[in-house]
């Protein structure tokens, strides 16, 4: 049983993400905690207000203003639909309503959670951002528990694709995923490593294989040659019904992997859940 958080924008909820989070909850017999992140500093279109004769630009939504009222209505409605949706899927729920700066709020919650599920398109801004937005990047970098980016649409998990480069963080991500989802042990594990120089130390390969054998029944090893993010992307393109597990090698690696030209493609085209953990 785990504590699974689902980060939701109360103004813009995605049913596919709820569907995926419910799958994880059922898989691990866990309750699903919906965290509704109410943005107090919402980037609304600024309005001109007048106070004691002086005009000023105001971008806040005052709670009892008509805009605030409308927002509250949508939030209440979405919380209701979230509960109904989970009920229909046989998942117990809990609702947290966090008001403040969304990324900060969810990072604070992450300390007390086993895993966070987010929708790649959550952005809390009306600006047209490249995927993934600022919110997702902040959560990936600062979260104190692993994060799963939900796929665009989801059927099942048949394969687990581990992206492995021999470094601390990739081993850490593989271990955390395995501990969190022991139920997926019978599934096929595919360990993908991309090399653009020489061979990996034999000794290390051997230790890695020993560990994998102990935790998964069927393991396949794939070695690709070339530039890591291009090769990995090419490999993932052909995959269906899997989950990708990767370590976040600090902010640098993440931003390279999610470089604008790639990220949109990965999230839109690959359509696989991505599990990211960093130590």
């Amino acid at each position: 049983m785990e504590k699974i958080l689902l980060a939701l924008d109360p103004q813009n909820m995605n049913m596919n993400t709820i569907d995926f989070a419910c799958y994880l909850s059922r898989l691990t017999c866990s309750r699903l905690t919906g965290v509704f992140l109410e943005d107090l500093l919402a980037g609304e279109r600024p309005v001109i207000r007048t106070l004691e004769g002086a005009s000023y630009l105001d971008s806040r939504v005052v709670p009892d203003s008509p805009e605030g009222e409308e927002k509250r209505g949508i939030t209440e409605e979405n919380i209701r639909s979230f509960k109904v949706a989970c009920d229909c899927r046989g998942v117990q729920t809990l609702v947290h309503r966090d008001r403040g700066v969304p990324a900060t709020e969810i990072v604070e919650e992450s300390r007390f959670a086993d895993v966070i599920v987010v929708d790649a398109e959550t952005s809390f801004t009306k600006r047209n951002e490249l995927l993934p937005g600022r919110f997702i990047k902040d959560v990936l970098v600062d979260s104190e528990c692993p994060v799963i980016i939900a796929p665009y649409s989801f059927d099942s998990i048949d394969d687990i694709i581990f992206s492995y480069n021999g470094e601390k963080s990739s081993v850490f991500a593989i271990r955390q995923f395995t501990y969190l989802f022991p139920e997926l042990r019978p599934k096929k594990a595919i360990v993908v490593s991309v090399r653009n120089d020489g061979e990996e130390a034999l000794e290390e390969q051997f230790k890695m294989k020993e560990w994998m054998r102990n935790h998964y029944d069927e393991v396949e090893y794939v070695v690709l040659k070339g530039e890591p993010s291009d090769q990995l992307f090419g490999f993932l393109l052909e995959k269906k019904n899997g989950i990708v597990v990767m370590g976040a090698y600090g902010r640098d690696m993440l931003s390279r992997f999610f470089k604008p030209s790639h990220a949109r493609l990965i999230i839109k085209t690959v359509n696989l859940p991505i599990f990211i953990a960093h130590c």
Partner: protein, 273 residues
């Protein structure tokens, strides 16, 4: 199946730690990785003192290979008798600590004796080797006193910091079999009016992993906590975090965990990010 790393330093044969691994194996099957490492890490000695000082005593084992062969045979026999899956690494390198670190990256847990770990270097624990290992290995460490048993209660040391939560999570992931055992989430505070940090949230998390969970706030100095409160529990295991080198050494200097290690009293599970 958990992969547990156990080190054999030079000629040492950690019988009591093996006994404990046997207990764990009855709980859920383990793969024991036994790594034979040299008794002295010359690289480490060099870096500590900027050269091997004249006064540094480096014990010589007459024929280390022979001792290792004997110990390896003993280990094989022990594992066969108790049906423990195992692998033995005898390809010793010159540098003990780097090879332990490498092994630990690919292990779920490292078990080590809180008395005997490199006791030839310094028998006042935690010695510099133990501190170094505790702070640098990438998997959780279980420090074991001479006689250890499976836990009758689990003490989760909590102070509201990310590292204490991290340790609790790692323990829960590694030992889901222990979820029925009474767990005490303890916040030790010297002040009366200090509130339990994030009580609801931490209860929500820990409650998912431990079925019999109690939140306890104790107003007492750490010394009393370790000497009276913990020892009053039945077969307790202590779960604690440490964060980076400075905090770890602070804990040691305040004789927080160090007292436990020195007293060889109870098993201590330490995990850090």
């Amino acid at each position: 199946m958990k992969k547990i790393l156990l080190t054999f330093e030079g000629g040492n044969f950690p019988q009591e730690t093996l006994e404990f691994v046997r207990c764990l194996n009855t709980l859920s099957p383990v793969l024991l990785t036994a790594a034979f490492v040299p008794e002295v890490d010359y690289a480490h000695l060099m870096s500590q003192s900027g050269g091997i000082a004249g006064a540094a005593y480096i014990p010589q084992v007459a024929d280390e290979d022979e001792v290792i062969e004997r110990n390896s045979a003993l280990l094989e026999e022990f594992c066969r008798e108790h049906v423990i899956q195992h692998v033995v690494r005898t390809d010793r390198l010159d540098f003990a600590l780097p090879s332990i670190r490498k092994e630990a990256r690919f292990a779920d847990l490292m078990a080590l004796s809180s008395r005997h770990f490199f006791e030839n270097i310094n028998d006042v624990q935690p010695n510099s080797y133990m501190k170094e290992i505790l702070h640098s290995v990438e998997c959780p460490v279980l420090l074991l006193p001479e006689k250890s048993d499976l836990p009758g209660s689990i003490i989760l040391a909590y102070d509201g910091t990310p590292s204490s939560i991290y340790a609790i999570k790692q323990f829960a992931y590694l030992f889901p079999e222990l979820s029925d055992i009474p767990a005490h989430l303890v916040f030790v505070s010297g002040k009366n009016d200090e509130p339990f940090p994030d009580a609801t949230l931490v209860e929500e998390l820990a409650g998912q992993h431990f079925k019999d969970l109690h939140l306890v706030k104790l107003n007492m100095p750490p010394y009393d906590f370790f000497n009276d409160w913990i020892t009053g529990k039945e077969n307790p295991w202590l779960v604690t975090g440490s964060y980076g080198r400075s905090e770890l050494s602070q804990l040691f200097s305040k004789s927080f965990i160090a007292g436990m290690i020195r007293g060889h009293k109870i098993p201590v599970f330490i995990a850090h990010t």
